[in-house]
C-alpha cells in the first residue's frame, strides 16, 4: 500500500533564491530493516535551521500558505554550491508511531510501537527510518516527550564523554540556558562534573540557579571576564563548548582559562602550559570568530559535531548514552517548547520569525 501525506522540501537555486515548501508526498511500504513512522512530533533545532533557511533573509521573504521564498546572500549561495537546485527534506529527529515495517525481525518488532528516530526527513507526515536507529518509547511516554531524544541529549552527553576522553575535569558552557544547556546542568550534577554556565541575561541566571547550577555568569554584566576567571579557577574547567561561534566569547573563555592557569605562577612569555580548549558546536552568531590571543601558545579551538563524535566513540559508548537518555527521558533529558505548529503553519511568517531568531527558550515543535 502507499501512504499519502506531505513533506517539507528546501531548495536553493544558483541565483540565490531559497524556496521552502510543503508538497504532497507518498511513501511506499518499507522493506528489510526499514520502518515507516507516522510523525507525531519533531523539534526545530538550530542544527535544522542551517539546512532549512541557512542565512537567507527570512524577514524580507515572500510568505504564502505552506511556502516561503527568500533571498540567500551571495557568499552563502556560492558556499552552498553543492545543494543548488536540489529539493532537500529536513528535520533531523522526531517521535511517532510505526505504521509499517520491513520483513526484518528488528523492524517487525517495532510495528505499532511509538518510537523516537533520526530520519533527517522529519518535517513530513511520514518518515522512513532504520529499525536499528529507532528507540521504542517507554509505556506512557508521549511523542512530544520523545521528539527531542537524540540531538540535544546525545550532544550534552557527548560533551561529558569528550571531556573525559581528552583528560579534562570540568566544563564551561556558553548559551547555557538552552534546552541543551539545562540538560547539561542536570547531567553534570548527576555525574559530579564541575560546570561553568555562561548565559545572556539575569532571567537566565535565575533559570539555571533554580535548576541547582552553582556557577552561572551573565556575559552582559559588568565584571564578566573577572567572574569567569574566578569560576574557572574554582572548578578547574579547561574545556569549553560554545554554540554561538561568532564574536569574541570563545577567545574570552580561553583568556579566562589562561588567567586562571597563570595565577601565582612565574612569568612565561609563552603563557601557561596547561591545556585549554574550546569547541564551537553551532553558529547562533554566523559572524566572524574574533580571538584576542591573550592566552599564550597552549590552546586549541575546534569544531565539534555529533556524528563524527559518535563514530569515534564507537557503538558501545553510543549504546550506553542512548540507554541513559531513554531511561531519564522525562527528567534529565526533558525538553521545553514555546509553541507547537502544524506542517503548513511552520512556514508562516510569524513562526519562522520566532524560531529562526534562535533565541534561547523559544524552541518550536512541529506536530504534523
Amino acid at each position: 500500500m502507499t501512504y499519502e501525506g506531505q513533506q517539507l522540501l528546501t531548495r536553493l537555486d544558483d541565483d540565490g533564491t531559497l524556496t521552502v515548501e510543503i508538497v504532497p508526498q507518498s511513501w511506499e511500504e518499507p522493506s528489510g530493516s526499514q520502518i515507516l513512522v507516522r510523525v507525531e512530533a519533531a523539534p526545530i533545532n538550530p542544527s535544522d535551521l542551517g539546512l532549512l533557511f541557512a542565512s537567507a533573509d527570512t524577514a524580507g521573504a515572500d510568505y504564502s500558505p505552506g511556502k516561503v521564498v527568500a533571498k540567500m546572500p551571495e557568499a552563502a549561495t556560492r558556499a552552498m554550491q553543492a545543494r543548488h537546485g536540489i529539493a532537500m527534506p529536513a528535520g533531523n529527529e522526531c517521535a511517532g508511531t510505526v505504521v509499517a515495517a520491513g520483513e526484518a525481525p528488528a523492524a517487525q518488532a517495532l510495528l505499532g510501537k511509538r518510537v523516537a528516530c533520526v530520519p533527517g526527513t522529519a518535517y513530513a507526515t511520514y518518515a522512513l527510518a532504520d529499525a536499528a536507529m529507532a528507540m521504542p518509547l517507554a509505556e506512557g511516554v508521549t511523542a512530544e516527550q520523545g521528539a527531542s531524544s537524540f540531538v540535544n541529549p546525545m550532544t550534552a552527553l557527548g560533551f561529558v564523554e569528550t571531556m573525559r576522553k581528552e583528560g579534562f575535569t570540568g566544563l564551561v558552557h556558553a548559551a547555557a540556558a538552552s534546552n541543551l544547556g539545562q540538560m547539561l546542568v542536570r547531567i553534570c550534577a548527576e555525574d559530579g562534573v564541575p560546570l561553568v554556565n555562561i548565559v545572556r541575561s539575569e532571567a537566565q541566571v535565575k533559570l539555571l540557579r533554580d535548576l541547582g547550577a552553582e556557577h552561572v555568569l551573565d556575559m552582559t554584566a559588568p565584571g564578566f571576564d573577572a567572574a569567569l576567571t574566578d569560576a574557572i579557577h574554582a572548578t578547574g574547567a579547561m574545556l569549553g563548548f560554545d554554540p554561538i561561534g561568532g564574536g569574541t566569547l570563545a577567545g574570552q573563555i580561553l583568556a579566562a582559562m589562561e588567567r586562571s592557569a597563570s595565577r601565582g605562577a612565574a612569568f612565561s612569555r609563552y603563557g601557561s602550559s596547561v591545556p585549554k580548549k574550546v569547541y564551537i558546536y553551532g553558529a547562533l552568531d554566523t559572524g566572524p570568530t574574533i580571538l584576542n590571543r591573550a592566552f599564550g601558545l597552549t590552546w586549541d579551538l575546534g569544531g565539534w559535531l555529533l556524528t563524527p563524535f559518535m563514530q569515534k566513540a564507537g557503538s558501545e559508548v553510543v549504546g550506553r548514552m542512548r540507554a541513559r537518555v531513554m531511561k531519564d527521558l522525562t527528567t534529565t533529558f526533558a525538553s521545553h517548547y514555546k509553541a507547537r505548529v502544524g506542517l503548513e503553519e511552520m512556514l508562516s511568517k510569524e513562526a519562522v520569525g520566532a524560531y529562526n531568531a534562535r533565541r534561547t527558550g523559544e524552541k518550536y515543535l512541529v506536530v504534523p
Copy 2:
C-alpha cells in the same frame, strides 16, 4: 675565578615602563654538569622579541647608549603582571666557546670546544648552560654558523614530526620566506613532504622558487584564495603553520582546505569531515585572529610551541632531530642575517627599529 662582562636585562614596571639595558655582570665558575660559554654569536629571533620588547612602543622610546626606555600599552602591562619589576635576561640561543666547565665528565668533555646552546640568557658576554643541552660544533663550523642551530631548525623539523604524528600528509606554511621557511622548503624536499608556501611579495615568491619550492603563493596577489585552494587540492596539505597569528590568514587557510575537501562531494550542511588544522606558532601580527568560519565543523586551530612539542615527542625523537641539524647545519639549516651588532649596538634606535619590525629576511645577529 670570576668572569666579568655584560648582560642584557629587560624589566617591565607596573606603570608600564619597559627598561632594556646592558649592565655589568659577573659569572662564577660553573659546577656539576654546567658549562660557561663565551658568547660569540646569538640571533634575535621573533621568539626573543616577545620578551625583549613585547608590544612596547619602541618607535617613541628614549635611547641612550646601551639603554632603551619604552612605554608598554596598558592592556599588555596588565597581562604581563607576573614580570613586573623583575629584570630578566634574554636571548634563547647562541654559539660560543666553552671557557669553563663543572666537574661532571660531560661538562669537562666540552672544555675549550665551540658549542651551540640554548641558555635563554644569550645576550651577554658569557652564558651558563647545561652540558646535556649543548651541542659541539663540527670542525670548521663558525659560531655564526652555529648560532641559530636550535630554535628555527628544531621548529621546522617539529612541523614535519607533528604532521606525521597527527596523520597529515602535507603542509601549508605562512610567512614562508623566513629563515625558518627556507629551512622547511629544504627539509620537505629532502623528505618528500608536499609543501604549500604562502609569502607576501613577488620577490619572496622568486626567493623560494629559486630554492626549488613548487607551490609558492603571494597572499597579496589577486586570486590568492582560489590559488591556495588549488595548491591544497594538488598537495592534500591539510595541516597549516602560521607565525602571523593576527588577521584573517589562518581562517583563509582553513576555508581553502574546506573548499578542496568538498570539491565534487555532495552537499553537507556541516562541511566536509576531512580533518583540517592550522597551528599558530608566532605573533608577527599581535592583532586579533579573525575567523570567517566558512569551513564547516571539522577543523582545529591551536597554538604550537617548541618546548611542549619536544617534551611530548620524547628524547629519542629530539635526539634524532638534533643530530640531523648538526649534520646539515651549513646546508639545510643555514641561516642568513641582515646585520651583525654588538651588545650595546643592539639597543640603538636604528637596530631596534630594524629587527623589531619583524620583517622577513631582516634578522639580526648579536656578536658580543
